[in-house]
Every structure is written in structure tokens, then in C-alpha cells.
Amino acid sequence: MLLIRCPYCEEERPELEFRNAGEAHIARSANMAGESDDDFEKFFFIRSNPKGIIYERWRHMHGCARFFNAVRDTVTDKFVMTYKAGEPKPSKLPGAGK
């Protein structure tokens, strides 16, 4: 079983307590009604689906119930790091820069 670090509970918890909640850092337009159909399609449907590092929202559903962001490698399924919701995308990942 994977252990996922919850930034609110400040410890690693078993994956069964968590739910994935899609890709992170997708900004909702402040003027949704004024969006063009193409822009709305990009916001609503189009996801990056990368091979490698992905930024995702996760929710500690059966714990503190908080949403937070996680950096995960889709190849190895390893969690690189997690950080609180609302915090900016980390500019440098731990273990990177080789």
C-alpha cells in the first residue's frame, strides 16, 4: 500500500484514506460567461495526461477531509511531494536537478 503524506495531518497515511481529485493548478476564469467555447473546452475537458511528473489534487477523504496538491510520477507511481492547496506550484522538486 502506498503511503501518502498529508500536509494538514503532517504525516504519512495509507492510500485507502485518500481520493484522487484530478489535475491541479487549473485556474477557473473569473469571467466564465465571457469565455469563448474554445477556451471553455480547454478549461473543462482538456488535461495534460503526461508521462512522468504530474501535478494533481488529492483529498484526504477519510482523514482531515482536506484537498491538497501532490506531485506524482505517473511512470513509477511514486509521490514526489505534497503541499497545501492554494500554495504555488513548487519551482524545484526534491531530488531533481541532476
Binding site: M1, Y8, C9, E11, H62, G63, C64, R66
Partner: protein, 194 residues
């Protein structure tokens, strides 16, 4: 709340309107583990921002814990940290925590859930092994010491787990899940090798 007050002052109920909490008095004993349903208690789900915590703590008589996985207890009333702005308050002394919060003007949401939850005590040398039959958390004393409390899962249901002693746990679950949880723990207690 008016309802709660009326319930207390009402004369002894006739058998036809007797309150029957789920699983009353059920218990099971296996080698080294006892699983039993605890008597009803007053419970409250409390949500409040940081700025209201001091006022609520004063009204409740218990300092609401701010550290993850901890609880605070005083005079039969226990406040469990569930999330950064969420607490479960359990009162076993018969006082209504909702009434204490009613006079607080600071922003908060207090919801009475006394009848929503059922508490099950798991005690004995194999208590941790019994709960680990369906709960994936590390229940060693290092990771989950006495006085630790956390919302987590047991099998397919969500529970709130709290450690009252080195070999004793209190499991809070929803009333409608209580039969499943009790049966799960009974099965687990038989499997728990001591």
C-alpha cells in the same frame, strides 16, 4: 435543541416510545479482546475558523486541540481534532455541548450528532490487532499513542478512532453502519493472534 431539552424534562417514557439506541448492550469476547457497545453519549460536530477557537474553547470548558491526531479531555467531555477547522465533541457526563455553544457569537457551526453515532469499545491485549483487521493505520504506540484520535476507515466504512489506553480503543461509527462495524470487529477479534 428545544427538542433535547424537552427530552430531558419529559417524564419517564412509556414502553411504546422507549428510545432504543442501535446495538444496545451487545458485546463479544474472544481470547484477549473484548468488543462492546458503549452507552449513548452527547455528541457534536463543530466547525470553526481559527479566530473563533478561543471563544468556543471557553464556552465548552475544553481547549480545542490544534495539533493533528490529538484530543483534549476535561470532566467527561472530549474534543477530538478531525481536521484543521473541524472537531468532534463527545460528552459522556450527560451535558449538552450544543447548549454551551449556543451563546457563542463568534462564527462557528455546531451540529448535534448524538444519535448519528454509535461508540464501540475494543479492549484487551489484542485490541490493536483487532482494529488493524480493517484499518490500515499504524496503531503501534509510537505512531498512535494513548490520547491519539483520528478519522480513518475500517473495512468499507468511515470511523473515528481514539486510543483511550495502551490496549483500549473507542471506535465511533455511524449508526447505520454500526451492525457492519460491530460484526467486523467481532470477526477481527477472533483473528487477532495474541
Amino acid at each position: 435543541m428545544a427538542k433535547a431539552a424537552a427530552r430531558k424534562t419529559a417524564p419517564a417514557a412509556s414502553p411504546s416510545v422507549e428510545r432504543r439506541p442501535a446495538l444496545t448492550g451487545r458485546s463479544t469476547t474472544a481470547a484477549g479482546v473484548k468488543v462492546e457497545v458503549l452507552p449513548p453519549a452527547e455528541r457534536m460536530s463543530l466547525r470553526a475558523p481559527e479566530a473563533s477557537v478561543a471563544a468556543l474553547s471557553k464556552a465548552l470548558g475544553v481547549t480545542l486541540p490544534k495539533k493533528p491526531k490529538t484530543l483534549a479531555s476535561k470532566g467527561g467531555r472530549t474534543a477530538l481534532w478531525l481536521g484543521p477547522d473541524e472537531w468532534l465533541v463527545i460528552d459522556e457526563a450527560g451535558n449538552d455541548p450544543l447548549a454551551d455553544c449556543a451563546g457563542v457569537s463568534a462564527l462557528h457551526s455546531a451540529v448535534g450528532i448524538s444519535h448519528r453515532n454509535i461508540a464501540i469499545a475494543v479492549t484487551g491485549a489484542g485490541a490493536a490487532a483487532t482494529i488493524n483487521a480493517g484499518c490500515p493505520q499504524d496503531l503501534s504506540l509510537d505512531a498512535f499513542p494513548v490520547g491519539a484520535a483520528s478519522r480513518t476507515i475500517l473495512g468499507k466504512t468511515e470511523i473515528v478512532l481514539l486510543r483511550t489506553a495502551a490496549d483500549a480503543f473507542r471506535v465511533e461509527c455511524w449508526r447505520s453502519f454500526s451492525d457492519y462495524v460491530f460484526t467486523f470487529l467481532s470477526e477481527g477479534s477472533r483473528d487477532a493472534a495474541v
